[in-house]
Amino acid sequence: MAWEYNEKVKELYRNPKNVGEIEDANAVGEVGSIVCGDALKLSLKIDEDTETITDAKFQTFGCGSAIASSTALTQMVIGKTVEQAAQIKNQDIVDFLGGLPAEKMHCSVMGQEALESAIADFRGLKVVHEEEDPDTAIVCHCFGVSNKKIENTILENGLRTLEEITNYTKAGGGCGSCIDEIEQILEETLAKQDAEPPLRLPDKPKKLTTLQKIKLIEETIEKEIRPLLIKDGGDLELIDVEGNRVVIEFKGRCLGCQAVTYTLSGVQDKLREMVSPDLEVTTGND
């Protein structure tokens, strides 16, 4: 399959920088395995007094974007303090590269994990092996991905679909036997996330006139719902509002999406929360 890599990514896998191992490294992080198809070993030289990262080198087994992500990571951390480096998330690596194909997001996640692992090594923290942590369990056995990793990746990257989770973590991309479990984690994580106080639209009067209600429904759809759907290649249109019955029509990728009933209940939840708990949302697609 031909991937669409941008020029920056191409430049960094053609001419990778900071390749190798630092002999007197005081922080080393290793993630991935040869079975999974990619692996990264990051070594850092950190000034003990200032806690500034003075050098970083990597070794990578993997595809073009894995090599580019590794180079990017080393370039990003050199000169930063450990505390600053600890703030780097996979999305920062993606931004540094000017974007990665969706199917390659896991390469950036691997970079973030190697960095976390190296920092833990520097701090003298024993990296808690997931199998020893009673709260974590391996969900995807093909790629050794735990429930914690899936949950964290969903939260940090605002993931909404199974496909996105596979692109970011590889979970579910092998034999596929864990897909039900991943979908459950997704559902629970999204529910938990939505339970946290969301951005409120300004002034929500107690009793809405019909006109106000329609306006508020429109506003919520525009600001809160459509952006998420469009991001996934879908869309929806408000068809009608009759009393508390809201009729919408799904478009684009939402149409063929098997999770569309899930999406529909998500739309209803959002409208109930933002407008009125009495709303019933139905689709005019049938």
Binding site: Y13, I34, F61, C142
Partner: protein, 386 residues
């Protein structure tokens, strides 16, 4: 930049002669072969001539045993569905773990629909034991569908032996011959097959044309139901320019068989030996002898296939890989996994597939530029230790 195309099992350059042959049917001879008037008559004749040339390439008894399709996949689907639809009391299919998706995905689809599917294993050298086929046959077996040559490794399967077994049990036998046609001598009558699928664009015809051989006397149901084209065996107006080009390509394939077996094989062997000698920890996937003359699948340990392909591409070299990153899934090639190739090798596999259009100078170019690519990626790899 110099370009060296070594991905001929994916698709091939259209032979200039095939392009010339089809052009009149894109320009002046646009008639419908089904029409009674002179516009159609001329065109219908060209289609029948092409049918004869394809029949000759396959050693078919009669040209009418050839049905033109839109592609190899359609030919495979037509054969398998035809067997299932004519043997409605049978619900068992025998195939292998290393089939092309054209057959494998259909088999998995049928499995979900409730059919029994036996996927036969292969040995570590990619070979299939015909006795395994025999052991798998039951009274419910509707069809055996086994490829003639593997697209990834080039390994040849004993089609004639399997055909004899299938015939002795009265079970229909289909072979996906997309990779073998034009590379090895072939005679459908010796093979004892009921169906054989081929694809135009693998033998220097354009994309969008395939053919299915249906042995005379084999009960048949069309896959595309429509008009009476192809003697009622495939509805839909014939893709005349493509059919004419396929006829020309088939004629040329027959004429170049010796060249495939000698010169192309020679280039493949020189490329393979040279790479193995120059690059440590590299090995060939698949049986050394029982293999197509044009294919070499080599694994370079501890480096990843997509990275190799990207660096090759920068130098104008085109091949393909069985690595997870290039397969579109996250797992490496199902063929290499079925052969038990270790992950350290599977992710770093590169398939070189030549054609008669390759030259010795191109082989030299690859031999010069591949070793530094592998060495460079191994420098980056955390698993590689000198």
């Amino acid at each position: 930049m110099k370009t060296v195309y070594l991905d001929n099992n994916a698709t091939t350059q259209v032979a200039p002669e095939a392009v010339e042959a089809m052009l009149p049917f894109l320009r002046e001879h646009y008639g419908n072969p089904s029409s009674m008037h002179s516009f159609g008559g001329r065109v219908g004749k060209a289609v029948e001539e092409a049918r004869e040339l394809v029949a000759e390439l396959l050693g078919a008894e009669q040209p009418s045993e050839i049905v033109f399709t839109s592609c190899g996949t359609e030919a495979d689907s037509t054969a398998i569905w035809s067997a299932l639809n004519t043997e409605t009391k049978k619900n068992h299919i025998i195939t292998t773990r290393v089939e092309h998706p054209a057959v494998r995905s259909l088999a998995l689809h049928l499995k979900r629909k409730g059919y029994q599917v036996t996927e036969l294993p292969v040995h570590s050298d990619g070979l299939l034991d015909p006795r395994d086929v025999e052991r798998a046959i039951t009274k419910k077996t509707a069809i055996i569908s086994i490829m003639s040559a593997n697209n990834e490794t080039g390994v040849l399967f004993p089609i004639a032996e399997i055909g004899a077994i299938a015939a002795s049990y009265g079970v229909k036998f289909h072979t996906d011959a997309v990779q073998i046609v034009g590379k090895e001598p072939l005679n459908v009558q010796d093979l004892n097959v009921n169906f054989l699928a081929l694809s135009g664009h693998k033998i220097h015809a354009p994309k969008g044309i395939g053919a299915l051989y249906v042995k005379r006397g084999t009960r048949f149901r069309p896959f595309l139901i429509g008009g009476h084209q192809e003697r009622g065996r495939r509805g839909g107006t014939e893709g005349v320019p493509n059919i004419v080009a396929l006829g020309k390509a088939a004629q040329m394939a027959l004429a170049h068989l010796d060249d495939e077996q000698t010169r192309v094989r020679g280039m493949r062997d020189r490329l393979e030996k040279g790479l193995l000698a120059a690059i440590p920890s590299s090995k060939v996937n698949g049986h050394g002898e029982k293999r197509l003359p044009n294919t070499s699948n080599i694994s370079f340990e501890h480096v990843e296939g997509e990275a190799i392909l990207l660096m090759m591409s920068d130098l104008g070299m085109a091949a393909s890989s069985g690595s997870a990153c290039t397969s579109g899934s996250l797992e490496p090639s199902h063929v290499l996994r079925a052969m038990g190739v270790p992950y350290t090798f599977a992710h770093g596999s590169i398939r070189f597939s030549l054609s008669r259009y390759n030259t010795d100078a191109e082989v030299d170019y690859v031999l010069e530029h591949m070793p530094p690519i592998i060495a460079r990626l191994r420098e980056i790899s955390p698993f590689w230790k000198d």
